[in-house]
Amino acid sequence: MPDAAIECRDLAKSFGKASSALQGVSFTVPRASVCALLGHNGAGKTTTINILSTLLRPTAGSATVAGFDVVRQSGEVRACIGVTGQYAALDELLTGRENLTLFGKLRGLRHRHARRRADELIERFDMGHAADRRVSTYSGGMRRRIDIAVALVVPPRVLFLDEPTTGLDPRSRRDVWDLVSALRHQDVTVLLTTQYLEEADVLSDSIIVLDSGRIVASGTADDLKCRVGVSYCQVTPADPVHLSAIAMALADFAGADCDALIDQQAAAVSVPAPDGVVTFGEVFRRLDGLGIELVDISLRRPSLDEAFLSLTSPAVTV
């Protein structure tokens, strides 16, 4: 397999004349890494996954998965991918074990081999207690787990996870995160979509932020945070009457009006800290000289949420 497990070049997809879901998306996912497509509903995440998993043909551009062209070599692509969609793709009337065996056989395993593989996955995914109940009786978390297991029946080279934790409770979400993290060590390349920044941060080696069918940013979580702005230093005095004294002492850091530095709600003073710890040390020394009692002084980086919000246009609420 080539070094790039997934490669998209100027991928575009429009549905009819009016709406274009993707407008020239290009990215590369290195082999055995986890990449997250991050964006609001309608940003084009699922469309991208559907094109890469051969469910949709791109209107323009090209893409390869495991070195195969998704349009011209769709059969070869299908042979080496695993897909889980936004909704669990299982036969509700069958048990978890039967679903696993069925998909094993559909992927070309012989009956006995498929049964054995199902047993293995049930054990690995810790589903023994539920494996012989019908899927229709499963909780959302169990459904997800068996759904991901089904995508792994024949170990794929590239795994697509479309919003793998949407609608799960925090504990089940953790379970899915553990599963995905474990894949990294098995030479599986994972492309997942998510609306949760925390998830992208925890799981992925690289993040691609999509907005209205375009890539607005990409890189590691740290890259994205840096792109949004510099860190700042926040000082909280024990008594809020000292806020203006502190702001006065630190005014030259901001080059701005003292009052603008004061966050009345948090009862704190914030100044930009472009030089990180160096700025922090300088702030500390000056305040020490003032002799004001402080409850907290901290260096803060913008959160991923702030990064995400500043990169994308507001979510369309339907």
């Binding site: 998993s53 051969t54 469910l55 059969g75 299908r78 042979a79 991918i81 897909v83 889980t84 969609g85 936004q86 909704y87 669990a88 793709a89 299982l90 036969d91 009337l93 069958l94 039967e98 069925l102 998909f103 056989k105 559909l106 992927r107 070309g108 012989r110 019908r134 089904v150």
Partner: protein
């Protein structure tokens, strides 16, 4: 090939649980009993007993019921996550269709057997010999296949699982109730006569009735064969087209 078997078995074990196979047995039994007990003494069927007269339409109706469940299944395979996942597997797009059709044939055989068994208790007999019996079965299965393909195309096209079988409810009722399967054409108002006489359910049931009794006309057989072949060709190509569109 093994994918086809696996998918068909999956449908079988599913329908054993959601009772579709049970319904496949109960529907012809119930309809036969209903028609025979309610209408048996009211309708003048000429020389033959009412069980002998009505069994063919009971079987044909069971095939139409089968088509309705096929529409649901096709819609579900198209819309559900399960069906979407099938399209990401390294199997032909035709395999899910073929599996649905294989299931249809199995269901048809079961329904046919159930109808014939219950009618036999009430005096229905296949008196035409082995050749006629074989032809009887072949025509039933060809008709079942044709309507299932049509229903499959519809189910694959239509937007929701809920509505696909409802759409077929009315045509099914009209074709069965306004046919010579339940009562001879003379029992219907004159203006309905031509429709009742020439619509496919009437043609097929009359040929089946003839085969059971052991006397059929070449014209009747030709018309029935023509209906089956035409429906198979039209619905078959539609069903195939729908899979390619997917």
């Amino acid at each position: 090939m093994s994918a086809l078997v696996a998918l068909t078995l999956r449908t079988m074990s599913g329908t054993l649980r959601d009772a579709d196979l049970l319904f496949a047995v109960l529907a012809p039994v119930g309809c036969f009993l209903g028609f025979t007990l309610a209408l048996g003494n009211l309708i003048d069927t000429g020389g033959i007993t009412y069980p002998q007269y009505v069994l063919p339409v009971v079987v044909v109706q069971a095939m139409l019921f089968g088509a309705m469940t096929t529409a649901d299944r096709a819609a579900r395979d198209r819309l559900s996550g399960f069906g979407v996942r099938l399209r990401t597997l390294p199997i032909s797009a035709m395999v899910p269709l073929a599996a649905r059709m294989l299931y249809c044939l199995i269901r048809a055989v079961i329904a046919l057997a159930a109808g014939v068994v219950v009618a036999s208790i009430f005096g229905f007999r296949m008196v035409g010999g082995l050749g006629c019996a074989v032809l009887f079965v072949l025509i039933v299965l060809a008709f079942a296949m044709a309507v299932c393909l049509g229903a499959d195309a519809l189910g694959s096209r239509i937007g929701s699982v809920e509505s696909s079988s409802q759409v077929l409810l009315l045509p099914q009722l009209v074709l069965v109730l306004l046919s010579t399967g339940i009562a001879p054409a003379e029992s219907f108002p004159a203006w309905l006569g031509p429709f009742v006489r020439y619509q496919p359910v009437s043609q097929v049931t009359e040929t089946l009735r003839g085969l059971a009794a052991g006397h059929i006309t070449a014209v009747g057989l030709a018309v029935t064969t023509a209906w089956c072949v035409t429906l198979l060709a039209v619905f078959g190509s539609l069903a195939l087209r729908m899979q390619r569109r997917a």
